[in-house]
Every structure is written in structure tokens, then in C-alpha cells.
């Protein structure tokens, strides 16, 4: 049974999705999605335990052995991402029930949950597979369902945001496909382990270089690294807020995983960062990203848009960590993938609670919210601290390791810029907290004085996520150990 788990990880959401379509009832399709998501989460935890105990797991789909058949390949790196994706999906799905009931028409609920499950299936598939073409297939599954999920937003602008993402996302996906095609032409294989072995002695190094460039561009678009992030702010702002919480925690993170997998495992560190000076491209983009986008976030009046720009900035930190290409740099990047996933998901969930009760998230009009929604505000403040990187939160763990890693490599300027953009994070998060907690309410109507907290089914998952992120903030060694293992796997190449 347990050796079938890699396949079940994908199959559970994939089977549950069409069942949701057949159920058609809003509540029961939610139950179906919830059961599938929880099962996927449990499976991913067991897989992570297995990998940490026994090393790499390989699973040959269809019984066809590795180089010719499709192979699922799980090491510490993707096991951790699997837990992140399925865990955030399970937690946000609990939250989504009330949130979606309010913002999406009831007759479309079953389609919403179907798209959700397909998205989970696609994201998990990208992460679990060891086959380059399979990555593209699952990328399409997850992207198409993501466009659908975003277009469920109440605002009509959700449609244009979704279409914009569709155009840019398709460009990114086709670049990735072209890259994989060139790799296949140059080496005659699609299996990642096999690719890694054959790329160095391939006769057509030029084709490999073209593949490398296309893959880089494609993955950078999909993961919204700074100059290519244009699709992200609108998509995050106008999507239903449960979707935003889910996507912010998982979608860009999975693309970053693809980046890691291709640059470190397939092309190898020496090829990507030694021969072709990827850090000459990645590092400036990342640094400009986290400085400029933090600056832009300060001036946003829509809470969701502010968090969206901050997301682009955080992707910058992660990519900066990767482009150091050292053990500690990679560890910092991977830890921040997980930590930021949790923090941003819980921030967007808090925003969703505000949206549920107040009806808008225009920051300057959220005055005195602390009196009305104390629990939501406290959760927002704790997660906001995590975004800034205050000690005892997850943000501190990842920023500390990132600064440590850049100092270790002697890049003082990077460390200083990370601190500078953290200061900007204090400004943009602090401004919201200041308005929420300290500003007196201008209107003194009866509706502004009473307490109106969000429903329990939204608050509990929010606090679960906040609690987990606090735990990993205080006990940073737990995530750092997994990330360190993953980093050494990546630097050591595929076994």
C-alpha cells in the first residue's frame, strides 16, 4: 500500500474532481474536495517522513522503468513542497466554504471546487514528477484551473485579470515547452536524472543553451520574478480571496521549485551558475524586485494589492537566495518558500475575513477595526510581523539565514538591501496596523461600534495557519533541517 503513495498523491484529487462535477450540490462537492484535500495532505506527510528516513523514493508509472517511462521522483526538496501545497490547500479549503458561499453564485460552487481540485492535482504533479515533459503537462493542468479560479471573482475586472494571466501564463508555459523540446532534441531523453547525465556530453551544446534560455524565461514568468510579474497584482486582487490565499501560498512557490529543479538538478549548478552566469540575470532581477516592489507596496491603498506587491518582493528574496548557489543560500531560499507560503496565505485569509464582514479592504477606511474584529486583526498583525521578519516569527528565520548566507559569500550590499526592504515592509505593514488599531473611527454610527467577528469556520483555519507559522518561527530548526537536506540534494545532483 505504502509504495503506491506517490501515485495516490496525484490520483486522489484527480479522481475527486470529476466526482465533484457529478455531485453538483454546493455542500457535498465541498465535502468531497475537503476529504480529497485532507487525504492528499496525509499522504504527503507520510511521504515526507519516508524520504527523511529512507532517502529518495522512485515510482515508475505504468510499470515502465525510468529512462523510457514516466517516473515520480521524490527527495527532501519536493516532499517538503508537497506538504506545503497540500497542507495550504486543506487549510484554505476549510476557510473557503463560507468565503466562497458569499462571493460565488451557489450554482457554480461545484465547478469552483472542481477547478480547485484540478489545480491541487496539477501543482502536486509538477512537484512530484521526475519527467521533464510531465512537468509541462501538470503545469498546464494547474494553470488552466488557476485561470478559471481567478475568473470566479466578484468584480468584473477578475475576468480581465484572469485573461491577462492566461496570456502571460501561456507564453511562460510555451517557453517551458520549447525549452523541453530543445532538451529532448539535444539529448534524446525526457527523464530528469537521465537529462542530468546526458547534458554535459551532448554534441549539440547550442541546443542545450537555447533550451536553458527558454526554460529560464518561462519559469521566471510563471514565478512572477520582478520584471515579469505584471500578471500577479491584478490576479491576486480580483480573484476570490480564498483563491488568492491558496495561490499566494502555492502557485508561485511551485514555479520556483521548477526553477530549482531545472537549474540545479537537470542542468547542474556549474552549468547554470558557473558557465552561464545565471546569477548575472537572476540576482539583479531579484534585488530590484524586493527593493522596488516593497516600495510600490507602501503606496497601495487596497490591502490585497499591497500584499500582492509584497508577494513579488518576497519572490525576490527567494530568488536572491537561490542565486547565491551555495548550501546556505539555497537553504535560505527553500526555507523562505515554505515560510512565505504560510505567512502570505494567512495574511490573505485575514484579509478575506475583513472582506467578509466589512465588504471592502480599502486600507484608509479600515480605521478602528481592532474594536470590531479583534481576532482577525490579531492574526493579521502576527502574520504581518512574520512578513516583516520580527524575531520569533518565520520571517525572521528565513531573512536571518538569507543575510547570513550573503555575508558568507561576502555580498554585503545584498545583505544591506535585504535589511532596507525589510524596513519598507515595516512601513507598509505598520501603516495598516496603525490604521486598524490606533486611528479613531470617524463615523460613530451604531454599526461601527459593535463587534462583528468573522465566522468560526474562517477564523479557525486562519489561526491554525498562524499557529503553525509561529511554531516554525520559534522552532526554526525543524524547517531549516528539511531545507538543508533539500539544498544538499540539489547541490549533489540527482542520485
Amino acid at each position: 500500500m505504502i509504495d503506491q503513495f506517490p501515485a495516490l498523491q496525484i490520483m486522489v484529487p484527480l479522481v475527486a474532481a470529476p466526482i465533484c462535477v457529478m455531485i453538483r450540490n454546493p455542500r457535498w462537492s465541498w465535502v468531497c474536495a475537503m476529504v480529497a484535500s485532507t487525504l492528499a495532505f496525509l499522504i504527503s506527510i507520510i511521504l515526507l517522513q519516508q524520504v527523511m528516513a529512507n532517502g529518495v523514493i522512485r515510482y515508475a508509472v505504468g510499470g515502465w522503468a525510468a529512462p523510457s517511462g514516466i517516473e515520480y521522483y521524490i527527495d527532501a526538496m519536493n516532499a517538503a513542497v508537497l506538504v506545503l501545497v497540500s497542507g495550504i490547500s486543506a487549510v484554505v479549503l476549510v476557510y473557503a466554504y463560507r468565503s466562497v458561499a458569499k462571493s460565488v453564485p451557489a450554482e457554480k460552487h461545484y465547478l469552483f471546487y472542481t477547478a480547485w481540485l484540478m489545480c491541487v492535482c496539477g501543482l502536486l504533479g509538477i512537484v512530484i514528477t521526475g519527467d521533464a515533459f510531465n512537468v509541462f503537462v501538470f503545469l498546464e493542468i494547474s494553470s488552466l484551473s488557476m485561470y478559471t479560479l481567478i475568473s470566479f471573482g466578484q468584480d468584473r475586472r477578475a475576468l480581465t485579470a484572469s485573461f491577462r494571466y492566461l496570456v502571460l501564463g501561456s507564453v511562460g508555459a510555451s517557453f517551458i515547452l520549447i525549452g523541453i523540446g530543445f532538451l529532448y532534441a539535444a539529448t534524446g531523453t525526457l527523464n530528469m536524472t537521465d537529462l542530468a547525465a546526458r547534458i554535459p556530453d551532448s554534441e549539440s551544446q547550442r541546443a542545450v543553451l537555447v533550451a536553458f534560455s527558454f526554460l529560464t524565461m518561462g519559469v521566471l514568468i510563471k514565478s512572477a520574478v520582478f520584471p515579469l510579474h505584471a500578471w500577479l497584482p491584478n490576479a491576486y486582487t480580483f480573484a476570490p480571496v480564498a483563491v488568492t490565499a491558496f495561490l499566494a501560498g502555492t502557485a508561485t512557490k511551485v514555479s520556483l521549485y521548477v526553477l530549482l529543479r531545472f537549474f540545479f538538478s537537470v542542468f547542474g549548478k556549474d552549468y547554470s551558475f558557473g558557465q552561464h552566469l545565471l546569477n548575472g540575470v537572476l540576482l539583479p532581477a531579484a534585488v530590484a524586485g524586493f527593493v522596488l516592489m516593497s516600495l510600490v507596496a507602501i503606496f497601495q491603498n487596497d490591502l490585497r494589492r499591497m500584499l500582492a506587491y509584497s508577494s513579488v518582493a518576497q519572490v525576490g528574496y527567494i530568488v536572491a537566495g537561490f542565486s547565491l548557489a551555495t548550501q546556505s543560500g539555497l537553504t535560505a531560499g527553500i526555507v523562505h518558500v515554505v515560510n512565505h507560503g504560510m505567512v502570505k496565505a494567512s495574511l490573505f485569509m485575514a484579509v478575506g475575513c475583513i472582506l467578509y464582514r466589512v465588504g471592502h479592504v480599502h486600507t484608509p477606511s479600515l480605521d478602528n477595526l481592532m474594536k470590531r474584529m479583534p481576532f482577525t486583526c490579531v492574526a493579521f498583525i502576527i502574520s504581518g510581523m512574520g512578513l516583516i521578519g520580527v524575531p520569533l516569527t518565520v520571517g525572521f528565520v528565513s531573512k536571518f539565514t538569507l543575510i547570513e548566507a550573503s555575508l558568507e559569500k561576502g555580498w554585503w550590499a545584498i545583505a544591506a538591501l535585504v535589511l532596507l526592504s525589510s524596513l519598507m515592509a515595516i512601513v507598509y505593514v505598520g501603516r495598516v496596523i496603525e490604521i486598524m488599531v490606533f486611528r479613531r473611527s470617524r463615523e460613530t454610527g451604531p454599526e461601527s461600534s459593535g463587534m462583528c467577528e468573522a465566522p468560526l469556520s474562517m477564523l479557525v483555519p486562519l489561526y491554525v495557519l498562524v499557529g503553525v507559522s509561529l511554531y516554525f518561527g520559534i522552532n526554526g530548526s525543524a524547517t531549516l533541517e528539511v531545507a538543508g537536506r533539500a539544498a544538499s540534494f540539489l547541490l549533489g545532483g540527482l542520485q
Partner: protein, 142 residues
């Protein structure tokens, strides 16, 4: 004699009625002969759907919707995927890897035959549903 509302398309209507059964039959042939000759679920699904699209073009969308309602189509799309995935689950129940058809029968080649048969049928059903849904989507725009 019963007259159709758009009488000037009489020839088209009669020819369509004659052609549709053959199109459907050819679709089924491509579907189930796919493991011996050229063909398979995707092509068969498109051919099968083209019969309904032809019906919609000639007799109007409303009458085609009476034959195949969007609800039925959604059901078809889902059941095709479910058939495909279900085959994978059955192979896992029989102790093989996901979609390892050899375990489905005593003889591995027979098992592979059955497996690909079921999977392609799933593909065919889903593609038929998707193609007709696409047609409805484009045709019903005001």
C-alpha cells in the same frame, strides 16, 4: 406533411439526417479499432462530436440542446476522466503500478488490451463532451 421552420434548407436537412448515423458509426470505428489501426480516443471523440455539431448547424442550437443538454455534457466530461483515472486505480488495486495494464488479466498482453480499451474510451467520452461544449459556448453567444 410536417414542415421544418427553415424550409429552404430542406436538402441540407435531409442529407444531414442521412449522414449523421454514418459519422457516428465511423466515430465508433475509430474509437474501438484504435488499437489495431490509426485512431484512438481523441480522434474518435472529435468525429463523434462533429455529428452533433453538424446537427446543431443545420437544425439550430435549440434542438441539439434537446438531444444533449449541457448538464449531460458535463456529466460526460467528468465520467470520461473518471473512467481513465478509475482504470489507474483498478490497476493499483490489482497490485501493479498506476496504469500498469499488464496486471488486469492473466495474460499481460490481454491486460494491456483491456486497459488501453478502457482508457481510450474515457478519452473519447471526455473529448466528445468538451468539443460539443465548446460548440455550444461559441454558438450561444448573443
Amino acid at each position: 406533411m410536417k414542415l421544418y421552420p427553415r424550409q429552404r434548407h430542406r436538402v441540407l436537412q435531409v442529407v444531414t439526417k442521412l449522414v449523421i448515423p454514418f459519422v457516428l458509426l465511423f466515430g465508433l470505428y475509430v474509437q474501438f479499432h484504435g488499437d489495431y489501426g490509426p485512431g484512438g480516443g481523441f480522434q474518435a471523440g472529435v468525429i463523434f462530436a462533429s455529428a452533433f455539431i453538424l446537427h446543431g448547424l443545420i437544425f439550430g442550437l435549440k434542438r441539439t440542446r434537446d438531444v444533449l443538454s449541457p448538464t449531460v455534457l458535463r456529466f460526460m466530461m467528468a465520467s470520461g476522466v473518471l473512467l481513465y483515472a478509475g482504470t489507474g486505480l483498478v490497476t493499483m488495486l490489482f497490485g501493479g503500478e498506476l496504469l500498469n495494464y499488464s496486471v488486469l488479466a492473466h495474460e499481460p498482453t490481454h491486460g494491456q488490451h483491456w486497459g488501453i480499451f478502457a482508457v481510450e474510451l474515457g478519452v473519447g467520452i471526455t473529448v466528445t463532451g468538451v468539443m460539443i461544449t465548446l460548440f455550444y459556448g461559441f454558438a450561444s453567444k448573443r
